[in-house]
């Protein structure tokens, strides 16, 4: 009798089907649909014609697409390194310096993580503002004798502000993630290493880092997956500018599809982004798994 309760077909269908149906209609079907769109030319109004691989060849010769691809790659790699490295340093600070009193610092530094990106971006526009109102950063520079900078007016400085803002938004998250990983290292392990004479950087490099590796890998995968899909912070902070220099693939896809109504080419950009993130995730997981089993 008990067995039949656990393998009741009708009840199972009743429990799974609603979720699966909505999920299929809103996510699975559109993924396949986008793949089909990517081989077509046209839009909602003019209709579609099949064009084979034309969109893909166009993608690799389109200078804007190349610059978007380059920006996505640079942003994702630099940001992932920055987020995980900063989070790791913070987690070490929490554990070895602040110790018991770290809860309040942890909680405060985590707070920006839950803030709406739009709100943060608009705030940072003002924090780095020059005219009509000088933000705190430029005011500080002038107090120290420098001249104010139009941060969002130049490419390099705009990218700088973007990095600072996104690190500000996310460092608390990675710190908590890696801190939880550090807490899971058995204390006898560190104790034993200390008795063997390991201190400071040696302790971190030979004991803490290897033990933390699985969590570090999860953080890396999560970070690269998120940073490759960056959209909100860029559209709200720079709008992709100046002159398209901070436009990643996500934003380029959005502009192509909804600005110019090119559904086919827009879908191609989305497909390239999707394949890219799947490949990168698979690659990291595979290479680190080999590393984990080796050590």
């Amino acid at each position: 009798m008990a067995i039949s309760v656990f393998s009741n077909r009708r009840a199972t269908a009743l429990l799974v089907m609603p979720a699966l149906a909505i999920y299929t209609a809103v996510m699975l079907v559109p993924i396949v649909w986008s793949a089909i769109y990517s081989f077509m030319d046209g839009g909602l109004i003019g209709g579609f014609t099949f064009t084979g691989f034309d969109n893909y060849t166009q993608f690799f010769t389109d200078p804007q697409a190349r610059s978007a691809l380059r920006f996505t790659a640079i942003y994702a790699v630099a940001m992932t390194i920055g987020q995980v490295a900063l989070g790791y340093l913070l987690s070490l600070l929490y554990l070895f310096h602040l110790r018991r009193s770290s809860t309040i610092v942890r909680t405060l530094v985590f707070f920006p993580v839950v803030l709406p990106t739009v709100a943060v971006a608009l705030l940072f526009q003002r924090v780095f503002g020059l005219a009509p109102v000088e933000g705190p950063v430029n005011a500080l520079i002038q107090t120290l004798g420098g001249t104010g900078i139009d941060w969002l007016g130049g490419t390099a400085s705009a990218v700088g502000v973007l990095f600072v803002m996104d690190l500000w938004r996310s460092m608390g998250f990675y710190a908590v993630l890696l801190y939880a990983g550090l807490m899971d290292i058995p204390e006898e392990m560190i104790e034993a290493a200390r008795l063997d004479g390991a201190t400071g950087s040696k302790l971190v490099r030979h004991v803490v880092l290897p033990m933390l590796l699985p969590v570090l890998v999860s953080a890396l995968v999560f970070s690269i997956n998120g940073t490759m899909k960056v959209f909100d912070s860029i559209i709200a902070l720079t709008g992709g500018g100046p002159a398209g220099s901070t436009t990643p693939l996500t934003l380029y896809m959005f502009q192509t599809a909804f600005g110019f109504g090119e559904y086919g080419y827009g879908s191609t950009i989305a497909m390239v982004l999707t394949l890219l993130s799947l490949i990168v995730t698979w690659f990291i997981l595979r290479s680190t798994r080999r590393h984990l089993t080796a050590s």
Binding site: M1, A2, V5, F6, N8, A11, T12, L14, L15, V16, P18, A19, Y23, V26, M27, L28, P30, I31, W33, S34, Y37, L44, L90, H97, R99, V105, T107, L108, V109, F110, F111, V114, P116, V118, A119, L123, R126, P132, P136, W168, F173, V176, A180, E187, V221, F222, K229, F231, D232, I235, A236, F254, A257, Y263, G266, I269, L273, T274, S277, T281
Partner: protein, 301 residues
Amino acid sequence: MTSTIQAPAPRQLATNRATRRPKNRRSRFLRRLPLNIVVALLLVIVCYPLVWLVLGSFKTQDEFLSSPFWALPSTPDLSNYTEAFAKANLGTYLINSVLTVIPALIIGLALGTAAAFALEVLVWKGRGPTLGIFLVGITVPAQIILLPLFTMYFQLHLLGTLWPLIITYTAVTLPLNVFMIATFFKAAPRGMFEAAAIDGASTLRMFWSVGVPMVRNGIFTVGLVQFFFLWNDLLFALTFTNNPRLRTVQVGLLSFNGQYGSIDYGPLFAAIVVSISATLLLYLFMNQRVMRGLAAGSMKG
């Protein structure tokens, strides 16, 4: 772990503690000073922009232009807030956000819990593939579903209503809901279900009266995490709200910034404060749960 790292052998030290205490304390202070400065700097960097934001929401335009940035507002008046609500339609945007996020959150949690129960507790063919199918949704970028969804909603004549957002939000919460709640069911004692089965409970009754109460806490945590995702969403809200009347808070804030923000600082700051107040309140009361939930959610990904 922290206590063992710190604890010196107390009895040995006790003998010379009286004589060495002042010197010890000073050297300990000096040793900790550099990192304490780092911590102080960290807190300033994290908190100061927010302090500046809140203070700025009470400042007049004159104060922004002529007083230094660290100056406090001269009078704590709410005119920026009333202006933000009047000019930026903040009230409408807040209602739209609530009307889309809350239904999607509740439906998504209900459906996700049911599916998670079936996938983790029940025994049937196709469990593995079904879990795999839900996993796809966590890895792909949202851009891949935008255009087909837009076409679908257009052909169903749903654009111009809030339904596209409610439907999309419900669906995008499902993968994480299923995965996180499934882990809670996994952690629940299996014996409880077996006892219920022996007592003659039907499958659905076992789900509702035994399963759901055991993971209630977990469902709440997942709901909290998803609330932040949906409330802060910009991409879907931007795509599916072609009518200003339908804007959510995030889209409304962005367009308000385009219209007035570059000139009028005060009302924009007030609007930003309003837009973050929901998250701030939730975080104030449930920060530890939020931190745990978000960290756990990312490890599933």
